[in-house]
């Protein structure tokens, strides 16, 4: 363990170590003073998965001078650090985390207010009360059932009264979520699943009290509390799933709030959050920073990486007067820009509006459970009504026909109608969907797939076209060196490349491995790096006398004194399992397309290598959205897989969407599922699990229907006793839960 703790990343190898490459905001703007006078910071930690991670992170931070408390919540990946004011710079914490191999980003406290999940806690309280009541009442019901015939009427009534004393307050308390939701639905003249539930609870309580008062035999106090217990389990599971999705979405939004460095009137640089920027502010954009707002360059010359905005892999130059779009990354030199728009008016915000429009379309999706409820409610209510009328007026009608039957009375008619409501109460149906979803998302979570919304799996199961983005999705989004060069040339060039943030320099350094940077190396923005007699950079800069290479690959030239210049060629390589993933999707009958904002030549090459026939290049965000709209108009159900800001709108407009873990936060926020790690194959597994989950859900709904078809006539005919109701309800709930757990057992595939 001691050895593992010194290696970067998760000691159990459950998550890859994060490289501190992507630009991170300065956390200073997010520090808050707590009530005990300590400075606190909340961070979102990437890559923490196991006990080793908790230990490593908490110990590592407590070892920093001045840190008083560090606590990692593994369920939410949030880390809270408290330290004595002034003892250390907040960036020391994020630096320590990245040295340990974990990505960390500070929260915007305004966007991610520490919200205690109040609704979840209340559901747990209702659940506990219902469980307590159900189990204690069972203690009195079992003697009544087993003492049938031998128990005196007085004892039975006493036990019924004790049950009533527990059941009435417990049921009225625990059924509150159902009452509330039913009332909300009724107020707008609609019926949901909670209407029959609420009706059953109230009527059953009333009937059982009446039975007890008349010293009767059939009191359903046990049944009603058990019913609530099972329903609340389903409700709680469903809530937890939605809450996890909501938290994930909220966290992503909070992370988007980048900080900026503003030059004040006195010339001092202050860290502020992006929301505080006003038009006309002078902002410092250090090498590696992402532009928080649209702006114009005031000072400096540099290169900008806008691959997240456009999908284009080749950086372009920026000099005084150049316009900068929010979201681009400054690569080589420090720039000073003047803000020309506030954060909410910047070009990124325009994309956010496109995303919103897409998501509204998706909100119209009707979940399976809702479809089932829409069928179920009217059927059950009419059945109960028919039962009531038949028992009330049936005898008189039969007498008209000459039969000799006597009236059964209002009480019996009501009792049987209520029996129908109890037995058909959607206990199994309430558990059928959440149980399957919890098991399915749990299984995918272990495989590094984050399912972000409750209905994502239902939609994912139905997709028939997969539309991939190229840069950063199908490919790694990073250039990789392909030239074969002598090791000493590579090392000499890498020594120069180490001082630069240009993506090609980075790729060169990666290929060369660890080493030292060249002394007094100087970066010439937009040209290259020079040190002594050596030059690394564009052809015009490093090797002006050499012939232009005929291929279209990205290149660097390296010259060292009089030796002939060397050419380094780079390609944006496909992910290791891209070809396999596309073949696997095809094998499942899913058509594959490639649509990218990059140059058509590059897109065609990637498409050919990956084995995709239909491709299009130089596509704007609007083109991507239009293609998805066209697919949907054809009646297809497209799955969009993308990572850049230029994909975000398309992700939101697709029937289902996925993004890799390296994607920009906005794209992750717009996606249904996020694939962590560098692989694409988990996408195929997610589709498989989604399909299995759909099958299980349908099986569960069918089983519930079958159960009702058998049980409802029995109840209507007056054969139902409290014992049968209790057995039927717990039995059916158990069966749907076990059926859902079968998803967990299928480990064999993939």
């Amino acid at each position: 363990m001691a050895l593992a703790l010194t290696e970067p990343g998760c000691p159990s190898g459950l998550a890859p170590a994060e490289t501190p490459e992507s630009p991170r905001a300065d956390p200073a703007a997010f520090v808050r003073r707590n009530s005990s006078g300590q400075d606190t910071l909340e961070l979102m930690v990437n890559g923490a998965r196991c006990a080793g991670c908790i230990q490593k992170i908490e110990r590592g931070l407590l070892a920093l001078p001045g840190v008083i408390d560090a606590r990692l919540n593994l369920s939410t990946s949030r880390l809270r650090v408290a330290w004595s004011p002034g003892a250390l710079a907040p960036s020391a914490i994020t630096d320590a985390l990245s040295r340990m191999g974990y990505g960390a980003a500070a929260f915007d406290p305004a966007a991610a207010m520490r919200q205690v999940d109040e609704e979840g806690r209340n559901l747990l309280r209702y659940l506990a009360v219902a469980g307590f009541a159900a189990m204690n009442i069972m203690m009195f019901s079992v003697p009544v059932w087993s003492g049938d015939g031998e128990m005196g009427e007085g004892t039975r009534t006493l036990l019924h009264w004790i049950s009533a004393l527990i059941a009435i307050p417990a049921a009225l308390y625990a059924a509150q979520p159902f009452f509330r939701s039913a009332w909300q639905a009724l107020r707008v003249r609609r019926a949901n699943m909670d209407v029959p539930i609420s009706l059953a609870v109230l009527l059953t309580l009333g009937i059982s009290i009446a039975e007890t008062l008349q010293q009767g035999e059939h009191a359903y106090f046990d049944g009603i509390t058990m019913l609530l217990f099972f329903l609340l389990i389903g409700r709680y599971l469903d809530h937890r799933l939605r809450e996890r999705a909501r938290t994930a979405a909220r966290d992503l939004l909070a992370l988007q709030a980048v900080t900026a460095s503003r030059i004040g009137a006195d010339g001092r640089v202050v860290a502020i959050s992006a929301g505080e920027i006003v038009v006309g502010d002078s902002l410092v954009l250090a090498a590696g920073d992402r532009a928080p707002v649209d702006g114009v360059v005031l000072e400096g010359v540099s290169e900008l990486d806008s691959s997240m905005l456009t999908g284009e892999t080749i950086p372009h130059a920026a000099r005084v007067g150049s316009a900068i779009h929010a979201g681009v990354i400054n690569l080589s030199q420090r720039l000073v820009i003047r803000a020309t728009a506030r954060a909410q008016d910047s070009s990124v915000a325009e994309l956010a509006r496109l995303i919103e429009a897409g998501e509204q379309g998706r909100a119209r999706f009707v979940r399976l459970a809702e479809k089932a409820a829409a069928l179920y409610v009217p059927v059950v209510h009419s059945l109960a009504l028919v039962t009531f009328l038949a028992w009330l007026f049936g005898p008189s009608l039969l007498r008209l026909g000459g039969f000799d039957v006597s009236d059964v009375g209002l009480g019996v008619a009501l009792l049987n109608a209520v029996a129908v409501l109890i037995i058909t109460c959607p206990c199994a149906l309430g558990l059928a969907v959440p149980a399957v979803q919890v098991v399915a998302t749990g299984r995918l979570f272990k495989r590094g797939v984050l399912v972000k919304s409750g209905d994502a799996l239902e939609r994912l199961a139905q997709v028939d076209v997969a539309v991939f983005d190229k840069t950063g999705t199908l490919t790694l989004g990073k250039p990789r060196l392909v030239s074969d060069l002598a090791p000493e040339v590579l090392q000499a060039a890498a020594a120069l490349a180490r001082v630069s943030r240009h993506p090609l320099s980075r790729a060169l350094v990666e290929a060369a491995g660890p080493g030292v940077a060249a002394k007094d190396a100087r970066e010439v923005a937009g040209e290259g790096v020079e040190a002594g007699g050596m030059r690394l950079g564009r052809r015009a800069f490093a090797a002006p006398n050499c012939e232009d290479a005929s291929d279209d690959a990205a290149e660097l030239w390296f010259s060292n004194g009089n030796t002939p210049p060397e050419r380094f060629a780079f390609v944006d390589a496909l992910r290791a399992d891209a070809v396999q993933t596309i073949a696997a999707l095809r094998a499942r009958g899913i058509a594959v397309e490639l649509i990218s904002g990059d140059r058509p030549v590059a897109v065609e090459a990637a498409a050919r290598e990956a084995g995709i026939e239909y491709w299009s290049g130089a596509a704007s965000p609007a083109d991507k959205t239009a293609r998805l709209a066209a697919l949907r108009a054809e009646g297809k159900k497209p799955l969009m897989i993308g990572d850049g800001l230029n994909d975000a709108a398309a992700l939101a407009a697709a029937y289902a969407s996925a993004s890799p873990g390296t994607a920009l936060e906005a794209s992750q926020a717009a996606s249904d599922i996020v694939l962590q790690g560098a692989q694409l194959m988990p996408l195929v597994e997610a589709i498989d699990v989604a399909k299995m989950a759909r099958t299980r859900t349908l099986e569960n709904i069918q089983f519930s229907a079958l159960y009702n078809i058998v049980a409802a006539p029995l109840a209507a005919a007056g054969f139902l006793t409290p014992l049968i109701a209790a057995l039927a309800m717990s039995g059916s709930s158990l069966i749907v839960t076990l059926n859902a757990l079968r998803l967990q057992l299928r480990w064999s595939r993939i």
Binding site: M1, A2, C50, A51, I54, Q55, L72, N73, L74, S75, T76, R121, L124, R125, A128, V129, F132, M135, N136, M139, T155, I162, I166
Partner: protein
């Protein structure tokens, strides 16, 4: 049968204690991080022994 007069309140009281304990654990935030709690049990504090 008279013993029931004593036993029933005792049974209910014990169950109520359990319920109260659950509410207390809920209030004190023990359900905030279910995953972490499962893993924290594996962390050893053996620094002193090692040295």
């Amino acid at each position: 049968m008279n013993v029931m007069i004593v036993l029933i309140p005792i049974a209910l009281f014990m169950a109520a204690v359990g319920l109260a304990a659950f509410f207390w654990s809920l209030r004190s935030g023990q359900f905030e991080d279910l995953e972490g709690a499962a893993h924290r049990v594996l962390i050893t504090d053996d620094d002193d022994v090692a040295s």
